[in-house]
Structure formats: structure tokens, C-alpha cells
């Protein structure tokens, strides 16, 4: 019997500390994409709530902690941290290991991410529990605010290396400016 060695998306690339920020991989399995069929969103949300304690999230929102449900597109959400329950009238697709998820934390987290995404990340506009599908460099992905100086950035797993590269480059540029300002 062949023994396969599981590797996370960012294995060997993270963690890193650059200037004021740290980058760390978030291991999120299991992850399931949930897409209610037309007209089924309420029923899906009720069934989810009864089974795992979180409902189907509103657009641009992430609800719950463990497990949690993260909106990730029109009529789609990711159920993270719990096996997917039986949901009638809903397409459920296993996304475990499909995403590279990186937590960026620190005083310059907004400044670093603002070099990579066009969305407004200021705390007055983008609060804890807010999530957005947007651009991260040249990639499409998701950004979620976890706390005042903490965000989660996710792209499809195949782009893990590019995500780490882009975050590292942006963080080094911000850190270099801080050195010059001293």
C-alpha cells in the first residue's frame, strides 16, 4: 500500500515575519462549497443552522468561528471546519485542500494588502466578519477581516506560491519604507 504524504498548500513557504507583519498558513479542512439551487437558499440556511449552528451567510459576510460559513460568490458559500451535513436542494462540493489560505497579522496589514487589492480595507468600511471576493495582485481570491490587524487571504491552491510571493514582496516594500523613514 502506497503511503502518500499530505502537504499543505503553503508547506515550506510559511510562516514568515516581515517588518510589523506575520504571514502564516491557515489549515482549514474540511471545506465544502455550498450552492443552493434556485429558490432553495432559505431552506438550505435553515438546514445548515439546525445541523451545524451557522446559517447561509449574507453576501460579503462570514459567520461563525468553528465552524464558519463564508460567502464566496453569488449564491455560494464555503462551509469551513466541519463536515458538510445532508443538504437537500443544494450543490455541495468538497473543497478541502482546494484553497491556499494565509493569515496576515500586524500593524501594517492594511497597508500591505492595499498594495495588492482595489477594495477599501479601512476598519470603518471593512469590519470583522466582512469578506470580499476581489483581486489579489493578478489573482482572483477572497479577503476576510478577522480582527483589527488581522486578515485572511485565500486563492485557489495552484496559486499558493504566487500568493506568498506577492504578500512577501508587498510586505518587504512597506517594511523598507519604514526603515527609510527612521
Amino acid at each position: 500500500m502506497v503511503k502518500l504524504i499530505a502537504r499543505t498548500a503553503c508547506a515550506g513557504l510559511l510562516p514568515k515575519t516581515i517588518g510589523t507583519i506575520t504571514l502564516a498558513e491557515i489549515a482549514a479542512a474540511p471545506v465544502t462549497l455550498i450552492a443552493p439551487h434556485r429558490g432553495q437558499k432559505k431552506a438550505t440556511s435553515d438546514a445548515l443552522k439546525a445541523a451545524v449552528g451557522v446559517g447561509f451567510p449574507a453576501p460579503n459576510r462570514c459567520v461563525g468561528i468553528a465552524p464558519r460559513a463564508m460567502w464566496c460568490g453569488k449564491d455560494q458559500a464555503l462551509l469551513i471546519g466541519v463536515g458538510c451535513p445532508e443538504l437537500r436542494g443544494t450543490a455541495c462540493i468538497d473543497h478541502s485542500d482546494a484553497w491556499a489560505i494565509v493569515q496576515i497579522e500586524g500593524a501594517d496589514a492594511v497597508a500591505v494588502l492595499s498594495r495588492l487589492t482595489p477594495i477599501d480595507l479601512r476598519a470603518t468600511e471593512f469590519k470583522a466578519g466582512h469578506t470580499a471576493r476581489t483581486l489579489i495582485g493578478h489573482m482572483t481570491g477572497g479577503i476576510t477581516r478577522l480582527g483589527s490587524q488581522s486578515f485572511e487571504v485565500m486563492v485557489m491552491r495552484s496559486m499558493a506560491g504566487t500568493l506568498v510571493h506577492d504578500l512577501t514582496q508587498a510586505a518587504e516594500n512597506i517594511a523598507a519604507r519604514a526603515v527609510n523613514a527612521r
Partner: protein
């Protein structure tokens, strides 16, 4: 330029793919005839003023939207989901 996605709110133009005029939603029937199909596929108005375009929120929620904008003033006055647009 920012476009008001009905789902995501105001977003940068870079997140969107431009398709063309919303007349694309008025698909003729299969037996409408070559003149009608030729017109549908190839001929567009070139308005000085208000126009309605199809955009795809490609790097966002994934919705197709119809954006109303003014080609003279560059004002973007609104957007609706394509599935709810009156064509």
C-alpha cells in the same frame, strides 16, 4: 471608474469584464431569420448619452450585471442583476 455591483457594492473597474451592449440579452428565436440574427450579432447603436452595458463581475461575486452609464458625461447611474434586467 467604479461600478455599483448590486451584490458587492461599489467596486473598481478592474474587477469587471466588459461584454457590450445589453441588447445581447434580447436573443432572437432560432427561426428569426438571417437578417434579424445578423443585426443581433453585429449591429450596435453608438449613442451620445445614456447607454446600458453588460458587465461580468469576474473578479468578484461572478454576477452578470447591466450598468447604465452616460457616454457624454461618464456618469454611472446604476446597475441591476442581468437576471432581473428589463430588456
Amino acid at each position: 471608474m467604479r461600478l455599483p455591483c448590486p451584490i458587492c457594492g461599489d467596486r473598481d473597474r478592474r474587477e469587471f469584464y466588459y461584454q457590450g451592449h445589453a441588447t445581447m440579452l434580447n436573443r432572437p428565436s432560432a427561426d428569426a431569420g438571417t437578417a434579424t440574427w445578423d443585426d443581433y450579432l453585429h449591429n450596435r447603436e453608438n449613442p451620445a448619452g445614456e447607454t446600458r452595458d453588460l458587465w461580468h463581475h469576474e473578479a468578484g461575486c461572478g454576477a452578470w450585471i447591466v450598468v447604465t452609464r452616460n457616454t457624454v458625461t461618464h456618469e454611472v447611474s446604476g446597475a441591476v442583476l442581468a437576471e432581473k434586467a428589463k430588456t
